[in-house]
Amino acid sequence: MGWAGFLLRRFAGTAAVVLLLSVGVFLLLYLAPGSIQQTLLGTRPATAETIAAIQARHHLNDPVALQYLRWFGDVLRGDLGTSIRTGMPVSDMLGQRLPLTLALVGYGTLLAALAGIPLGVLGALRRGRVTDRLVVTAGVVGLSAPPFAVGLLLLVVFALWLGWFPVYGTGQGAGDQLWHLTLPAAALALGAVGLLIRFGRAALVREMEQDYVVFARARGLSGPLVLGYAMRNSLVPILTAAGLVVTGMLAGTVLVEVTFALPGLGSLLVDSVTFKDVPVVQALALLLTVLISGVNLLVDIGYSIIDPRVRLGRSVS
């Protein structure tokens, strides 16, 4: 079975997940308390006629199955529908917000990797010493810090006290945007740093004890080269962690988006769920699932790049 078969299976799997998820989300939203006309009208009074008009417009009186099939049919035709809340085409809304979320997640992952992996390596190399303990503790603390609280803390310290970064918003132009996204990305990255430290350190510690490392040293290979051997071999668990980090961040953006007033996918999700904006929630679920599947696919491809045993399609004897 070659690459084509592998990719085909992955796509089929993702499609199945998306399908299941879309039915689930649809049902959940259908069952959720509240109705679209009520959210549209608020506490204002409404005539029966108005309610009927809204219901007719959004096909609220059709059986659920029909509502779902209508949505599904449109999606198959490439039409994600129109947001009930904003009246915009859903694809436009996602298109506008996706770059920000991707930038945030990408930046966050970068920060996390830049901080987490070197710290993990440092901990592993100084195993059992004070540095190591500090690194490990920092990792655990990072893992356990609620991102929204971290966001606020970063705001107070770096935006208010030090005035290094802006308080909210996304900025204009690449440099300015980077500057605006630094604090949110850092808030997002903290938990990820913890995870990477943990996985990275454990992996490297394990590798450093392996025979091939001792053998490499015994043959007089230079320190960096030996470390390179061990690092490369610890990449698989690190990659696994990185995959978790990215997918976790995709879901976690909602918390920092709220704090930093960023119009990303996360805050859109929360708003749309509570509004019962079915087309948007459905499309978001679809998008996020596809994104996460994409990340998982990349991770798997990464495995095969790193590990010839995977690439060359044979298990270890």
């Binding site: 997940v17 308390p33 303990r133 490990v136 503790t137 356990s144 609620p146 976790g248 769920v273 998982n296």
Partner: protein, 271 residues
């Protein structure tokens, strides 16, 4: 063999003990934790209120102590629940292999390709928030991690001779899985559960932040933190203290967990 306990671990044990005592005896330690004092309202640290009061005039320190009772059992329930489910499925998947394994792993894949917080938000939103549903959702969301970890560990054990010897003794699969395999992967399973505990603490407080977690007014850490965040400049302690409580508990548990894990590992290695 000397059994020196590192300083970090002793501190962590002390933290955990304090939290456990708070969780167990909060109603007796701080009977009036939720008593309001609208006259006082919010105030910074001062005599009588070492950490100040929140805007209903409740003493932050007392809330913190009482908060252990909601925060910790919830996170424990998530960690224990997902551990139970994940371990059972993971054991079965790794042990039986074949279609059981395929099914379990596709299920885990499915859960992994779901945006976890999305599900939490949708479900919690649909069920109108609340503590029970939030815990339930997190259990379901966390279980696949345990499943994978346990399955991986089981696969490592699966073809060891001791399992095959047990098979040859005609022991039941249940007995082999629970009495033979599990004790050997317990440290892995527990480490994963400890990590889940930390995540659960954080996730529950994040849900509170989004208004979907524990009921308003309950002295939960996440809730106190979320509720008081608007008072960041008026009484920072009301924000910082519950945040620290969350971090310290999760960190302490993981430090102790790591230490236990390492010790168990070492025990297994000595020959």
């Amino acid at each position: 063999m000397s059994r020196r306990v590192p300083v970090g671990v002793s501190v962590s044990l002390a933290v955990l003990a304090a939290v456990a005592v708070a969780a167990a005896f909060a109603p007796w330690l701080v009977p009036g934790a939720t008593a309001q004092d609208l006259m006082t309202g919010i105030s910074g640290p001062g005599p009588g209120h070492p950490l100040g009061t929140d805007d209903l005039g409740r003493d932050v320190l007392q809330l913190l102590v009482a908060g252990a009772r909601t925060a910790v059992p919830g996170a424990l329930a998530v960690a224990a629940g997902s551990m139970l489910i994940g371990n059972l499925i993971g054991l079965a998947a790794g042990y039986f292999g074949g279609w059981v394994d395929t099914l379990a792993m596709r299920w885990a894949d499915l859960m992994f390709s779901l945006p976890a917080l999305l599900v939490a938000i949708v479900v919690a939103g649909v069920l109108g928030g609340g503590y029970g549903p939030a815990i339930g959702v997190l259990v379901v969301l966390f279980a696949p991690t345990d499943t994978r970890v346990v399955r991986g560990a089981v696969l490592e054990q699966r073809h060891r001779p001791y399992i095959e010897a047990a098979l040859l003794k005609n022991l039941s699969s249940w007995r082999i899985m629970t009495r033979h395999i599990w004790p050997n992967i317990a440290s892995v399973a527990l480490a994963s559960a400890f990590l889940n505990f930390a995540y659960a603490l954080v996730s529950l407080s994040s849900l509170s932040f989004l208004g979907l977690g524990v009921p308003a007014g309950s002295p939960d850490w996440g809730r106190t933190l979320a509720d008081n965040r608007t008072q960041l400049l008026a009484n920072p302690w009301a924000v910082v203290a519950p945040g620290l409580a969350i971090i310290a508990t999760a960190a302490a548990l993981n430090i102790v967990g790591d230490w236990l894990h390492e010790r168990v590992d070492r025990r297994g290695r000595t020959r």
